[in-house]
Amino acid sequence: MPSEKQQEYKDNAIKENEAIKENEEIYPNPELNENVDELTEDLDALLDEIDEILEENSEEFVENYIQRGGQ
């Protein structure tokens, strides 16, 4: 029988592994891109992507983005 201490240690390790697995599911490894060219070389594809994901209604969005000053 493992001692209480060993058991606690083991339980903690299991909990921790689960938490990591959970994180990894949310953040899968990015696919490695072999083609690490300069930004300019596939700029068109990138700009297409930006057109797709840039927040709609930029004007309203930027206008409404107001923060309180911090440090």
Partner: protein
């Protein structure tokens, strides 16, 4: 003997809720931090008895700055993280503090782990919102309307060094390092001169050379003297002038070269030989000099560019750091420092994979060229803001990184690992490991203490030396002891 390198950063994040009836950044920040809290360990409070933020490095306590604290303020939402860091609501922003790190590479790892913690919090918090609402978190420093929030760096220094020597030696470095460390910003704020694009997010907000405040009339050198360590030996230099960076390469260089310059100040090889005539003016004009070739006037009559001043600091480092101080990481930082200064000299835009402000500038240039926008168009400002978005599918920097368009310092696995594991070679190891092993026996924590809830009442263990409490020193004890044995053994060791 030189002071051990200990570095930590604190980042305040911008926050917005899409489709909310009204924007309430305090409520949104609280929601986000609480959402992560519920995933973590039991409630453990922060021990504010160890804090004295109004202590001034010049030797006095500034009573006039004492904030009026309303009772509610005491219920600040706080989470102490098992990686040794801290996560809480500061004013109206979620704030993440890294654990203490012994080198620039670890610092990047823990700062980037913080971005993942914020994003995990966002996902958990969104479960509690209406279906059409989304939380967006930005790692930037401004709302473009004159409200700035900070990204602070902390460096352990020897108490033996006069604060005025730090001001003299550090100011010219800090004012010029933005050509490497800037995150880039569309437009100007705070009454500073109009411009389409500038190098730094924060430069427009600095109005004084030296001072205690971090919120108004911000000073280039902040005098807060709150070492969170043995105050007879150490001070903690609180650098408030930097930008929040997305690029791993940029963060690595920012903290790496700053730690090196502080070593040079401790060695007294950097004194006042680079003193600038008008640092407050220079910080804004350098931020607007995208070719990095404008001459700045020094007090001794010389006129040098920001690159030349940075080069002079690098030369002193190459000459004066001892073999012991030139660890593999310090050597690597110096090589990269040299590399970027050469590129900035010849063609700044050739650093479009390395430095935040240049990555962003090239992206916006291309976007403007495609659509024929003007710099003042909202789409351009949106692109600037969205560069700092922490959502992996929407954040422009994160998309560039995913597609291999930017230089990395770390692997993805290392960053994920740092969410749950403290650095092994600072007192963060002791803090994080105790939180993991004995969560129900810990009453409260601060940077330099842990209060255990033992059988004979509360027992406070101080951690006054940030480079102690490492895995090498306490690892075996932590793995083999019960909490009572641990407290007793430390008590005995201290006798």
């Amino acid at each position: 003997m030189s002071t051990p390198t200990i570095i930590g950063t604190e980042t305040e994040f911008g926050i917005s809720v899409k489709n909310a009836r009204e924007q309430d950044p305090i409520a949104a920040s609280t929601l986000v931090v609480n959402a992560y809290r519920s995933r973590n360990i039991p409630t453990i409070s922060w021990d504010y008895a160890q804090e004295s933020p109004l202590m001034d490095a010049r030797g006095f306590i500034d009573e006039s700055q004492k904030p009026i604290v309303e009772e509610d303020t005491y219920s600040v939402i706080n989470d102490i993280l098992i990686n040794g860091g801290r996560y809480y609501v500061d004013h109206a922003h979620p704030e993440y503090c890294t654990p203490e790190c012994s080198n620039a590479r670890d610092l990047v790892k823990y700062e980037k782990a913080g971005e993942l913690i914020l994003d995990l919090s966002r996902l958990a918090a969104e479960q509690l919102l209406l279906d059409n609402q989304e939380i967006i978190i930005y790692k930037n420093n401004t709302d473009y309307k004159g409200h700035s929030y900070g990204s602070h760096e902390n460096y352990l220094m020897s108490r033996k060094i006069d604060f005025s020597d730090i001001v003299d030696g550090l100011t010219p470095f800090i004012v010029t390092r933005q050509i490497i460390t800037g995150s880039g910003k569309v437009g100007a704020e705070n009454g500073a001169g109009e411009t389409d694009f500038q190098i730094s997010q924060r430069a427009d907000f600095f109005e004084k050379e030296v001072g205690l405040s971090t919120m108004v009339e911000r000073p280039i050198i902040n005098t807060r003297d709150e070492p969170h360590a043995d105050s007879t030996r150490y001070r903690r230099l609180h650098v408030i002038v930097g930008d929040s960076n997305m690029s791993e390469f940029t963060i690595y260089l920012k903290v790496g070269i700053t730690a090196i310059v502080l070593q040079l100040i401790e060695k007294q090889v950097v004194r006042n030989q680079f003193a600038l005539n008008e640092p407050v003016t220079a910080i804004k004009s350098i931020s607007r000099d995208l070719m990095c070739n404008q001459k700045i006037e020094l007090k001794d009559g010389r006129n040098l560019t920001a690159i030349e001043i940075q080069r002079a600091y690098l030369n002193l480092a190459q000459k004066h750091l001892s073999d012991d101080e030139r660890t593999p990481i310090v050597d690597d930082v110096m090589q990269k420092w040299d590399f970027v200064l050469n590129r900035l000299q010849n063609d700044p835009m050739s650093l479009g994979r390395h430095l935040d402000w240049i990555i962003k500038k090239k992206l916006i240039d291309a976007y403007i060229a495609r659509h024929g926008f003007k710099w003042t168009d909202p789409q351009v400002r949106m692109l600037d803001l969205q560069y700092h978005d922490l959502r992996p599918d929407k954040g422009l920097y994160l998309r560039l990184q995913k597609n291999g368009h930017v230089e990395r310092i770390l692997t993805h696995e290392e960053v994920v690992h740092a969410i749950q594991h403290p650095p092994s070679d600072t007192r963060a190891y002791f803090r994080g490991t105790c939180l993991r092993r004995f969560p129900s026996h810990i009453h409260s924590v601060s940077w330099n203490s842990i209060i255990f809830n033992g059988p004979s009442g509360l027992e406070k263990i101080m951690m006054e030396r940030p480079h102690f409490g490492t895995q090498e020193i306490v690892g075996e004890m932590l793995n083999n002891c019960t909490v009572d044995e641990l407290v007793n053994q430390i008590r005995d060791d201290c006798k």
